[in-house]
């Protein structure tokens, strides 16, 4: 028991001190701000294609698109983050990612433009000072020259309805 406890506390210290756990992120622009997701959750990046709207879905769900035979829902990141909706243009892309919910889902996220891939250290990630309403922004990455919102892909889609069957 003692051994276990000390082992697990050691692990926590390790992570907190940032000696390991460097994060690689993919950053993109939404309404002039920069946001990012863990690059490991990204599957591919596609050019914009109009989705098929889903009836009775929240306004930030734009619909579904067909990715190699798979039906993938599309979330408009502008409306998900509470910004006014934009008009898709040539730089608009769909970032296709997998969330880590219990039954993983593939989703596409509409962003204004791609930015970069960068490495961040764990101690650069700060908690959001104000809890965002959607909870989608799980942290802020303080870069030397800018701030980047770190998104949680698991919370982008609406929570699944509990099946009545």
């Amino acid at each position: 028991m003692n051994v276990e406890a000390s082992a697990s506390s050691m692990q926590t210290t390790n992570v907190a001190s940032g000696h390991r756990g460097d994060l690689q992120i993919l950053t993109f622009f939404v309404n002039g701000d920069e946001y990012a997701v863990d690059i490991l959750s990204v599957q591919e990046i596609r050019s914009w294609a109009a989705p098929m709207p889903i009836p009775h879905s929240p306004s930030f769900v734009k619909g579904v698109i067909n990715i190699r035979g798979e039906i993938v829902p599309i979330v408009d990141l502008r409306s998900r983050l509470g910004f006014p909706e934009g008009v898709p243009d040539t730089t608009t892309v769909i970032v296709v990612m997998r969330d880590k919910s219990t039954v993983p889902r593939v989703l596409g996220v509409v962003v204004d433009a791609m930015s970069d891939v960068s490495n961040v250290l764990n101690d650069m990630i700060k908690p959001t000072p104000v809890q965002s309403e959607s909870g989608v922004t799980m942290g802020i990455i303080a870069m030397p020259d800018k701030m980047i919102g770190l998104l949680n892909p698991d919370l982008l889609l609406p929570v699944r309805k509990i099946s009545t069957q």
């Binding site: 098929m52 039906i71 989703l107 699944r160």
Partner: protein, 683 residues
């Protein structure tokens, strides 16, 4: 560390549960197929093994109750295996109760309950008693006329064997354990090892044999047989074989003819079928086992596809596209279309599993239920190898159980009543599965009382389903038993069961895109047929256009499609609500509205109405245009998103566009929820 260990344990536990379920199924089907027949060594071995590995697994995880019960069952089974105990109704009932006990304990443990309850103490005691009582008295058996004359075999003898192996026996590749196993097949074997010759660990050589054994073999074995076992090692050991005294409680092996007591309860046909069953239903429902034949077929298809591809590839050079070349390309494309189609068929077939997986549960069900009701029933299973999509089959299981229960409970009569009406004492219950077109048909047929037209009508009139004075044809009368509420008939005993949940059965089957029909002759029996499509993964659909998007209406649910006539429309609050369709008034559903799309402009006369059947009601769906009819592959929206009311899924059309597949039942519900109540009175 601790975390990984418990994770590993969890994993192992999962495997244990899976294997135990499988083992229990083996045990149960084995026991059922064993009943009454002369002990089939193969089957006995199999069920013994099942009990044994269950015990081992339970022991590993420290499930004491489980281990104990399994152990007692194993002991009894061991006696059966060695011929000391005959299988008879009492015994098999006891063992089946044991299976139930094990299953219930496993279920408890699985749910995290202790599962070691003392509820099974009496059962364990009972098994223990059975295992230790001298066979003829343990079994209340019929008088001596059923004792066959098979007492001529060699008497049971006890052999004492002393074996001292040469130290080098192991290095010559002879393993004494194998010899003992061989001996154990002849009778009851006790092995006592003398380990006194084993040196301290420091001077122990792993390849040297230090042991000696004293073996006691009890059974109808001749000396030569034992000597034969040791023939290979005779020069590497010292062997003494001597005959011991016959143990007191080992009488000649009971030669009670096992067929007599059980045959009365279970006709031979059932047993035969059950036996077939026990061997054919090994697969668990959780995964699909695919036969090599199917994979080979798939390989062939892919082979042809590769050939077609290379043929088309040859045409891909810079040569001129002339007539001949064009013809070659056309030919190639035609081949490609054919190959794709058959590839699709083959892949679909991979999802198909035989109905025997569901039929397998019925021998036990019929066995138990008929016994409980004191009826004699012969269950006949037909078309067990008929294959159907896995998802469909899983959903068919409960309705079938329902129908079989109904037949046993209310359709088939007791022996006395059957004899009185001039029928054979034993009733028959047929379960059939076969293919017809793109459907699978499942039939449950009994030769029991049949439905009484008069009594159904009487009952329907009494509860107000049918107005007085209205005459119905036979089909309409028998259809009444599917009406919700008809089931609660309590007084009409021979009918009530037919009604219990029949509406639920019908709803379930319709949910699968199929239907239920019933045919009956009063006094002669009833047949219920379930018709369901072979697969849910591909459906025939009618493509419709709504605004800029396409939707798919399942072809099965479409009654008709019409050009609307404004004379027959009724509007309320500017919305179209009802349409007169000949002598019916149907609810009109503005699809765009219900699906939350912008309401379409344009005259109603330009629109079409697709009349669909939704939960027994006809509704008219307003669409802009009818497009092609085609087969579509159903893809779930739940995989990456969620359930969406009114849609049963989505599909990808030929041009890569997505079309949603409409769920007409859900649409009807949505429309009812949003529209004011409309009383449908004929205009």
């Amino acid at each position: 560390m601790a975390i990984t260990l418990s994770e590993l344990q969890q994993q192992l536990l999962g495997t244990f549960f899976e294997e135990s379920q499988e083992g229990l199924d083996h045990l149960e089907s084995g026991l059922l197929s064993l009943e009454g027949t002369a002990a089939d060594a193969h089957v006995i071995d199999e069920i013994f093994r099942a009990a044994h590995s269950l015990k081992g697994g339970a022991g590993t995880f420290g499930f004491v109750g489980l281990t104990e019960l399994a152990h007692e069952m194993e002991t009894v089974l061991d006696r059966v295996r060695s011929g000391k105990q005959q299988v008879n109704p009492t015994l098999s009932a006891l063992l089946l109760a044991g299976v139930d006990g094990l299953r219930s304990m496993l279920g408890d443990i699985h749910q995290g309950l202790p599962g070691e309850g003392s509820a099974f103490r009496p059962l364990i005691e009972n098994l223990r008693a059975t295992a230790h009582v001298v066979p003829p008295t343990a079994v209340p058996s019929p008088p001596p006329q059923s004792v066959s004359a098979a007492l001529t075999e060699a008497p049971v003898v006890v052999w004492n064997i002393n074996l001292r192996a040469a130290a080098s026996i192991l290095s010559s590749g002879n393993e004494p354990l194998r010899l003992f196993r061989e001996l154990a097949t002849m009778g009851e074997l006790k092995v006592v090892a003398d380990a006194s010759g084993v040196p301290p660990l420091s001077s122990l050589e792993a390849e040297t044999c230090y042991l000696a054994w004293t073996l006691t073999l009890q059974g109808n074995v001749r000396r030569e047989q034992i000597e034969e076992v040791f023939a290979w090692v005779s020069d590497e050991c010292t062997l003494e074989i001597s005959q011991g005294a016959v143990a007191e409680n080992s009488p000649p092996i009971g030669k009670l003819s096992a067929s007599t007591p059980t045959a009365e309860r279970l006709p031979a046909a059932v047993r035969a079928v059950e036996k077939e069953n026990a061997r054919s239903s090994d697969e668990p429902l959780e995964s699909i086992r695919v036969s090599v034949g199917k994979v080979d077929q798939l390989m062939n298809m892919v082979g042809e596809l590769v050939i077609t591809q290379s043929m088309l590839g040859e045409l891909d050079d810079d040569g001129p596209i002339d007539r001949a070349r064009l013809a070659r390309i056309r030919e190639g494309l035609g081949l490609l279309a054919r190959n794709t189609r058959s590839l699709q068929d083959s892949v679909m077939r991979l999802r198909s599993i035989p109905v025997s997986l569901v039929f397998a549960r019925f021998p036990r069900l019929v066995h138990d239920t008929s016994r409980l009701l004191e009826k004699k029933v012969e269950l006949r299973l037909n078309g067990q190898t008929t294959e159907v999509d896995k998802t469909v089959l899983e959903k068919l299981s409960d309705p079938l159980v329902h129908l079989v229960r109904n037949s046993l409970d209310h359709g088939l009569e007791g022996p006395a009543e059957r004899l009185a009406s001039g029928k054979p004492e034993t009733g028959t219950l047929d379960l059939r599965a076969y293919h017809r077109g793109g459907d699978i048909i499942l039939e449950v047929q009994d030769d029991g009382r049949g439905l009484s037209r008069e009594r159904i009508l009487e009952k329907a009139r009494r509860i107000g389903l049918v107005a007085e004075g209205v005459e119905l044809d036979d089909a309409a009368v028998y259809d009444l038993i599917f009406a919700p509420g008809f089931s609660t008939a309590a007084a009409v005993t021979d009918l009530s069961g037919r009604g219990v949940g029949m509406d639920v059965v019908r709803r379930n089957i319709r949910g699968l895109g199929g239907d239920v029909s019933i045919s009956t002759v009063f006094g002669q029996g009833t047949k219920v047929s379930l018709r369901v499509p072979l697969t849910l993964a591909i459906i025939d659909g009618q493509l419709v256009r709504l605004g800029n998007h396409s939707y798919v209406v399942p072809l099965l649910s479409i009654v008709e499609s019409i050009q609307m006539d404004t004379k027959h429309l009724m509007r309320i609050d500017g919305k179209v609500l009802a349409y007169r369709l000949r002598d019916e008034v149907v609810r009109v559903v503005d699809l765009a509205n219900v699906l939350g799309m912008p309401t379409l402009t344009g005259g109603l006369s330009d629109r079409l109405m697709v009349v669909v059947e939704s939960d027994g009601e006809k509704i008219g769906l307003l669409v802009d245009e009818l497009l092609a009819q085609q087969q579509v592959v159903v893809k779930s929206l739940e995989t990456n998103f969620d359930r969406v009311e009114g849609l049963s899924g989505a599909t990808v059309l030929g041009d890569g566009q997505i079309a949603f597949i409409l769920d007409v039942v859900g649409l009807g519900r949505l429309a009812r929820a949003s529209a004011p109540r409309l009383s449908l009175v004929a205009a």
